[in-house]
Amino acid sequence: MSTNELLEIRNLRTSFRIKDTYYPAVDNVSLTLRKNEILAIVGESGCGKSTLATSVVGLHNSVTTKVEGEILYNNQNLVKLTDEQFNKLRGNDIGFIFQDPLSALNPLMRIGEQIEEGLIYHTKLTKEQREKRVIELLDQVGIANMQRVASQFPHQLSGGMRQRVMIAIALSGKPAIIIADEPTTALDVTIQAQILDLLKSLQDEIQSGIILITHDLGVVAEVADRVAVMYAGEVIEEAPVVELFRNPKHPYTRSLLKSIPQTNSENEKLEIIQGMVPSLMKLPRQGCRFSSRIPWIPQSAHEANPQLHEVAPGHLVRCTCWKDFHFEDEEGSVNQ
């Protein structure tokens, strides 16, 4: 592990138990997060983004969930840690930001208390010092009247403010890694822009690595350094942000990008992807998982056992089908 690499995920597989069988929701994912970068993970709903994130912080219910593979951080394999060992990292080395800040904050606790809570267990600060730190943190996330906000309850704050508080909680341990699971999905565009700008500037400040989970390619384009595209539990493409938007390779990524309404698409039809993401229990476990949604591409174009291939420096694509891929109507024929 080079000094630049913060976190290395190797062959991670997270499976949920449903009716006595384990179904992997994250299947054989390997990713690396480096210092001071924003790694975006995108994909459609249900593709396993949140599962992946929760695996990294070890928040899965150990009874119904099985986590296999390695997550290496500071020479420890997080997968193997006990809850107590993990608690030393959570909130301290790793911060977590949830999508819906309203339900993610304890409705009966004051904001100040909730931020302070992590400090109690991770630092030896006195009560006064902790309170001072809370104010600092609130200041850091751009909340103007910190003192007042600290003594308020979540429901008294606006959505944007709440998300700032969530960020403050994540920052409280000066974490090396921040994981943000769709931090802006619940927000208005103007607020979203503010929060994204905040994340970006904080990162410059504290130099941590951020895993940003989103399904909005616009958000990715705004802030990410590197992007991993997930489909059905797998990473199907990974590339630096400009490379991905300029040179998308995987059919899924390409379709996705084409389905965004663009300035110049005004009176055109949008490209669509047929079918839908299969549910967890019905995921194809063999071959290219995307193949069923591009039926006009012959099976021969797919790899039997799709692997990630490096097609350009830092640009990985799963399966070989991208080479033969063309949009359905590009040939003008429709396979009924």
Binding site: T190, A193, G218, V219, E222, V223, A224, V242, I260, E266
Partner: protein, 315 residues
């Protein structure tokens, strides 16, 4: 010529409080909105959360009481009639809801869901009804065997299409679409948007398309209104809004939209910050002393912007 006009529509919700739980104030959810609709066109309604978009839509279709204002449909005042269940107005104006899931009764099969408007408005024989339903399914591209399923057995996109099928069942003149795609994934969103356009072309339906996603609105709409605190700050053709935004609020909204151009993001961020700073400094000019939006003033045939009297002189 427009077939329907909305004049100075207001919807105020009372806020109760005080000692005897009397009305102490009002939420001015919609506070003087004027629109007109042409056949076969799409009208976008954009604004941040809570600006009154949905309320406007619901008031037009008759789900909300109108505090004041008028709705004229084919020359007739339907302000009161619109709440009558089986009126022609009710048949001709339909709605698509944001949450396709909750817009369908989870206890009803697709058959009954699609049949509901037909049974109420068309009074067909069972065979004709069945025929119509099959037509609808064909329109939305589904086969007949879905009829016996329940809504939860469909994906979001499918459900939204069923919602559209239900809305077009009685050949409406206009459909109010309240954030029809914001709950959907990108690829599914594209399906639904395409589909809505198809239908519009086929049947000449008008849309009132409510959304907070300016990208989608731009893709869909011929005419766009930007809403803020129950009023329009700016309304005009798509080009008017996107190429020549006049109101600072419109500007701010536009600058906040993420773009899928990673190369230019630094510039965009700077620009965004400038607009934000300008907004903070100058917003008092754009709103009156109560923080309300000024009345609209035409600045071209199609383009109207809210501005104060002195502002207008400057322009």
């Amino acid at each position: 010529m427009s077939f329907m006009q909305v004049e100075d529509l207001k919807v105020h919700y009372p806020i109760r409080g005080g000692f005897f739980n009397t009305v102490v104030d009002h939420v001015y959810a919609v506070d003087g909105v004027t629109m007109e609709f042409d056949r076969g066109k799409t009208y976008g309604l954009v604004g941040e959360s809570g600006s009154g978009k949905s309320t406007t839509g619901k008031a037009i279709i008759g789900l909300e009481k109108i505090t004041s204002g008028r709705i004229l449909y084919e020359g007739e005042d339907v302000t009161n009639a619109r709440r009558k269940r089986d009126s022609a107005y009710n048949r001709d104006i339909q709605m698509i809801f944001q949450d396709s899931h909750s817009s369908m009764n989870p206890r009803k099969r697709v058959l009954d869901i699609l049949a509901e408007p037909i049974r109420n408005f068309l009074k067909l024989s069972p065979q004709e009804e069945r025929k119509r339903i099959n037509e609808l399914l064909a329109i939305v591209g589904m086969s007949e065997d879905v009829l016996l399923k329940y809504p939860h057995e469909f994906s979001g996109g499918q459900k939204q299409r069923l919602g559209i099928a239900r809305a077009v069942a009685c050949n409406p003149k206009m459909i109010i679409a309240d954030e029809p795609v914001s709950a959907l994934d990108l690829s599914v969103q594209a399906q639904v948007l395409n589909f809505m356009k198809d239908i519009q072309e086929q049947y000449g339906i008008s849309y009132l398309f409510i959304s907070h996603d300016l990208g989608v609105v731009r893709h869909m709409c011929d005419h766009i209104s930007i809403m803020y605190k129950g009023r329009f700050v700016e309304t005009g053709k798509r080009e008017d809004i996107y190429t020549n935004p006049q109101h600072i609020y419109t500007n701010r909204l536009l600058s906040a939209i993420p773009d899928i151009e990673p190369e230019t993001r630094i510039e965009r961020k700077l620009e965004r910050q400038q607009v934000e700073a300008a907004y903070r400094q100058e917003q008092h000019k754009y709103y009156d002393k109560d923080g309300k939006v000024y009345p609209l003033k035409s600045i071209s045939d199609s383009h109207r912007v809210a501005m104060s009297e002195d502002e207008k002189e400057r322009v």
